[in-house]
């Protein structure tokens, strides 16, 4: 089926992503890689380790910490960064800390805007980054299908879908003026299945929350929310039941729904994904805030 001198689709995707990462390192003064600790981030970090081997990736990782991530995510982040010996920048919106933003009280919209979108802009302005590498895929969400791999942002981090640069072959235009930046998506052409399959093949460590386990769960607005700490209001916490669940996507714990599952291994996760016919974002509350919400958020500067 595959010729001796031919790459399988996963190896082609891998080669394409490595090329993109190297292009960023070679063409920009001050790049940074977004690290959200999720499965796509894990794949991206793995590819960056490969791209510059035996050296380390010549750019830091940036984690925008909303302070509401799952505990296991933070543990995993710190462990992984230490193992690989890469540089990590953590940023939290200081105003958000002052306001003591709490998604249970302030709601997902305000929380996401202050702790994610605004925090991201702060971190990018502070770091004066000219290229920001992100793990988004085109199969994930409608407005992403049309986003370039090297996606230009103006001085205010705005994305203008009507005025994108044409992108031909594998030749990427990386020219920008001072203050402007480019968001780079090396995983654009990967699908969810490709990501899982690659994690499986390459043995890439991922946060244990992706695997099914018995966890304390509270049903809030139809979503299975895990009790991760004492900050969940007491009246909700008291309703918690132990259920066997896992997470298809990881974000802030009060805003990320779990799914009932028995998948305890990678092949079982992949099997479940292939047999279930719902998209991975079904558990994401922030996508459903309003119609076309992702496109709006992106124009405002969200990733």
């Amino acid at each position: 089926m595959i010729d001796k001198k031919q790459l399988t689709h996963l190896k082609q995707l891998e080669a394409e992503s490595i090329y993109i990462l190297r292009e960023v390192a070679a063409q920009f003064e001050n790049p940074v890689m977004m690290y959200s600790i999720g499965k796509d981030s894990s794949v991206m970090l793995h590819l960056a380790m490969k791209a510059f081997y035996p050296g380390k990736p010549p750019f830091p990782l940036l984690h925008v910490d909303t302070l509401w991530k799952f505990k296991e995510m933070i543990e995993f982040r710190d462990k992984r960064v230490k193992e690989l010996g890469v540089e990590l920048i953590i940023h939290t919106n200081p105003e958000g800390i002052k306001m003591d933003i709490n998604p249970f009280i302030h709601g997902s919209k305000l929380h996401t805007d202050i702790m994610k979108t605004q925090a991201l802009k702060q971190a990018l302005n502070k770091g004066k980054f000219d290229a920001i590498i992100g793990g988004a895929r085109r199969d994930e969400e409608k407005s992403r299908a049309k986003e370039r791999i090297f996606s230009f942002r103006d001085y205010f981090h705005r994305w203008d879908p009507k005025n994108q640069r044409p992108e031909l072959w594998n030749i990427y235009n990386t020219k920008i003026n001072k203050g402007e930046s480019v968001r780079v998506f090396p995983l654009s052409n990967w699908t969810e299945l490709d990501i899982w399959q690659y994690i499986y093949l390459e043995n890439i460590p991922i946060v244990p929350l992706y695997f099914a386990k018995k966890r304390p769960i509270v049903e809030i607005d139809g979503a299975k929310i895990m009790v991760d700490d004492e900050r969940m209001p007491k009246h909700l916490r008291e309703k918690a039941k132990i259920e066997k669940v896992r997470f298809r996507t990881l974000g802030c714990y009060p805003l990320t729904g779990a799914v009932s599952s028995n998948a305890e291994t990678l092949p079982e996760i992949i099997q479940e994904m292939l047999l279930s016919r719902n998209s991975e974002r079904e558990g994401r509350i922030i996508d459903k805030d309003q119609e076309g919400s992702m496109e709006k958020k992106k124009i405002e500067g969200y990733f």
């Binding site: 394409e16 490969k50 791209a51 049309k146 031909l168 030749i171 020219k175 099997q271």
Partner: protein
């Protein structure tokens, strides 16, 4: 079958699916030709469409559907396109699906003439083009335009899907007539596109009905006279492994990896050909020689340990180390010493203009070719091509979506290959130095050293040259006048 294996033996399924090939294709045709219906059906029948998306489409089919069927497949794609109406009207969308054999990336581009640049964008990475023809209408001007662009971009395989066969009573005559017309047109196209000879490897024809599903995923029982494959089987089995040039080794140096004093590696993606340890290489444009010491590719399954391999081929992303300490930087090209290229500072190329602001002669643009960036001046537009009639027209500028043959003068010499030999080193983009926009795509036809600069022409020769260019533009005579 695949779904069965998922349920019963997932490990086996994963093993089989490690070895899928990747095929990228572009679909050409206007909305009326049934393009959305075709893509919708491919996505649906390959089970790419998820329940939450499908239930929306089912609901909409009852409301807006143009079919009496349960699902209007066009709505699957058009549904995704709805946000285009809110503003993203002219862009390429990339869609994905997979079969048991291959993973597919579809570049879905609008077919209208004003979107030529988007078609070029989608075609630049495609292995194959599906050109849709409405069986009732036959070969149209837009079929010609699409075929021209597909050929210009060096897509090796064309499959002409003659659609709406159900409306013409599955008539063999209709199909045969369109096929004959297309092949006649294609012969003229080949003559007209003399710049890139033999760029197409295969042309095939499939009678389909995207709406009824005839010959899309399943072979049609309505079209007994057709003995070929259904479209999906065709896509699954067409041989693409030989499309990459496996002979001429080209390695544009992308990044110099120097983590410590003991290691100096040259990272890059092999544009064509293959390389082995101990091969003798030459670095261009300096001409310095050395031998390959190591080929590094952290391999699958390892704990990111240093893994050297003995041989690497296109399009692998590797890091090379050399036996000698020679000065190499980004933009240089490593080739085998035995087929060393000459370098040149004048190139003739086909240019697709992509910017609102037209091309200006004599001003400096920047070009990016593989990993090399350098300044360039358009010396002359030899002709522009009418993409509908394939006529060559004399002009001094190219406007948005126009295609022309141009001579460009580079500020320094680079190693060049013609596009139809090696895409990776024969293609470039043009960047406006003030706006930073990507203003054009270029495909190299020919590269020469500019010894023309040494030759001094007499007044009489210049007069004669002017006369010929004015009265016989169809000869394509190049200007010999010194530019002011």
């Amino acid at each position: 079958m695949g779904q069965n294996l998922v349920a019963t033996n997932i490990e086996q399924y994963l093993k089989e699916h490690e070895n899928k090939e990747l095929l990228r294709f572009i679909t050409c045709g206007s909305v009326d030709d049934g393009k959305s219906t075709l893509i919708g059906r491919l996505l649906y029948d390959s089970k790419t469409v998820l329940e939450d998306q499908l239930s929306v489409v089912k609901r909409e089919s009852k409301k807006y559907g143009t079919t009496n069927e349960e699902i209007d497949f066009a709505l699957l794609v058009d549904g995704l396109q709805s946000e285009r109406e809110q503003g993203i009207t002219i862009d390429v969308a990339y869609r994905f699906f997979a079969t048991d054999r291959r993973k597919y990336i579809i570049a879905d581009t609008p077919g209208h003439e004003q979107y030529t640049r988007n078609m070029v964008t989608g075609a630049s990475t495609a292995n194959l083009a599906v050109i849709l023809i409405d069986a009732r209408k036959g070969v149209l001007t837009q079929t010609k335009r699409h075929s021209y662009i597909v050929s210009l971009l060096g897509i090796k395989h064309i499959v002409v899907a003659i659609n709406k066969m159900d409306i013409v009573g599955y008539s063999k005559d209709v199909y045969e007539n369109i096929k004959r017309d297309y092949l006649q047109m294609y012969e003229k196209l080949t003559k007209s596109l003399k710049e890139f000879k033999d760029s197409i490897h295969t042309i095939d024809f499939i009678p389909i009905s995207a709406l009824k599903g005839d010959n899309v995923v399943q072979k049609s029982t309505n079209i007994q006279w057709y003995e070929g494959k259904a479209l999906l089987e065709y896509l699954d089995t067409i041989e693409i492994s030989k499309d990459i040039n496996q002979k001429d080794f080209r390695f544009p140096v992308q990044y110099v990896n120097r983590p410590n004093l003991d290691f100096r590696g040259f990272a890059g993606t092999i544009a064509s050909g293959s390389v082995k340890v101990k091969d003798e290489i030459t670095v261009l444009p300096s001409g310095k020689k050395s031998k390959i010491k190591e080929i590094i590719l952290p391999s699958i399954g390892s704990d990111s340990k240093l893994v050297s391999i003995q041989e690497a081929f296109a399009p692998m992303a590797v890091t090379l180390t050399l036996e000698d300490e020679i000065d190499i930087s980004r933009g240089d090209m490593i080739v085998h010493s035995k087929d060393c290229l000459t370098t040149s500072d004048t190139i003739v190329a086909m240019i697709v203009w992509m910017d609102e602001k037209p091309l200006e002669l004599e001003i400096e643009y920047e070009i990016k070719r593989a990993t090399t960036s350098l300044n360039v001046i358009f010396e002359e537009i030899i002709f522009k091509k009418d993409v509908n009639s394939w006529e060559e027209i004399k002009t001094d500028t190219l406007e948005l979506n126009e295609i022309g043959k141009c001579r460009l003068s580079l500020t320094r010499e680079i190693a060049c290959d013609p596009y139809n030999k090696i895409k990776g080193t024969g293609s470039f983009i043009v960047i406006d130095k003030i706006t930073n926009h990507t203003v054009a795509a270029g495909m190299i036809i020919d590269a020469t050293k500019s010894d023309k600069k040494k030759r001094v022409y007499t007044e009489a020769e210049i007069e004669l040259n002017r006369y010929i260019r004015k009265h016989f533009p169809e000869w394509g005579c190049i200007s010999i006048e010194e530019k002011k």
